[in-house]
Symmetry: C2
Subunit: 202 residues, 2 copies
């Protein structure tokens, strides 16, 4: 299946500003994108990066600087999957579950109401990434066919906030996890959930 | 399989204090516990609540006021599963994946390095719930046999913080989700992940 991998190339991952500088955020975002494309390919599918700006990539890139919803809908000819470029925990196995689950529209929820990945096999479905998109996508999918949910932690964690970096350090198996370790980002155990700190100055 | 459901009965869910009062937190925690026990039963297993204090419950209860790690290890005779009482998104399907996955020790990670559920089929395994327990549990499991991970969003979300309530409202299918709605807790869409606000005063 063809898989679009949307990537925000200009000023990526601003919510990581407390931990990573601007150039670092760009480098880390690129590593996550490579991990995702590589996992998609290992799952037997064909990734194409949908980037807001021209980028260098070993996978095909299409550039579209419109908002995400418009850019995706303009290319949404089934069968097609859309997998966000910041799913640093995604493995070939997790993506195979998404791509191998039957149903007209298969949805993988993200933390906080997002839709981190979806696979579309029926015409008429349109994305709407604003707000709690997973609820909207379930509704839109039910209007045009069946909506099936994939229950995956690895697809649920998109990396937006500092705490998400702890998940990458704990569970990531690719370049993004290695990049974080090389940058001196370390797990920090507090009373509740584990978070991160930095051992080296920026 | 027998399933222990650890439950902290005294002053539960203090990190929800910004949204719920003390009595409300106790009531909500009890609803989550009932949802978990009910889902365990629907998955074909037998829940026993491991409570720090005596509670009323339609399922069997054993009381042990020692720290979680000691209380669980004292009862860890395989085959046995341990499923936290605050997994408000757990469904029979998600728990069936945990209980049906082969392997000496099967682990379901929680957000922030926790171990939200595990199934033990081999002697010698011991729990250690301090810190990033999922990493420790993988290591301990590998020492005594095989460690297998279950990739489940529904088992990864334990409800500790206000943002977790958004996940319950979005994806919960049981009494806990209904309780939140009745308490006036609503989704609040911001720029990033969805969170919650309260429409009625406490």
């Amino acid at each position: 299946m063809d898989v679009l991998v949307p990537f925000a190339a200009s000023r990526p991952k601003t919510r990581l500003a407390g931990v990573l500088g601007p150039d670092e955020r760009a480098a880390f975002a690129a590593e996550m994108r490579r991990d995702v494309c590589s996992a998609v390919e290992s799952a037997g599918a064909s990734p194409t990066v949908l980037s807001t700006d021209p980028i260098e990539s070993e996978w095909p890139v299409v550039v579209d600087d419109r908002p995400l919803t418009e850019a995706v809908n303009d290319r949404l000819e089934p069968p097609l999957a859309v997998v966000m470029a910041d799913l640093a925990l995604a493995t070939p196995e997790a993506l195979s579950r998404l791509l191998g689950t039957e149903g007209d529209v298969v949805l993988a929820p993200g933390l906080g109401g997002g839709t981190n990945a979806l696979a579309v096999r029926t015409p008429g479905f349109r994305v709407d990434y604003h707000g709690a998109s997973i609820a909207d996508h379930r509704r839109i999918a039910a209007d045009v066919g069946t909506a099936t949910m994939v229950d995956s932690f690895r697809l649920a964690v998109d990396v937006d906030e500092a705490d998400d970096l702890a998940e990458v350090l704990l569970h990531g198996e690719g370049r993004a996890a290695r990049w974080l370790r090389d940058a001196g980002i370390e797990l920090e155990t507090t009373g509740g959930r584990v978070t991160v700190s930095r051992s080296t100055p920026r």
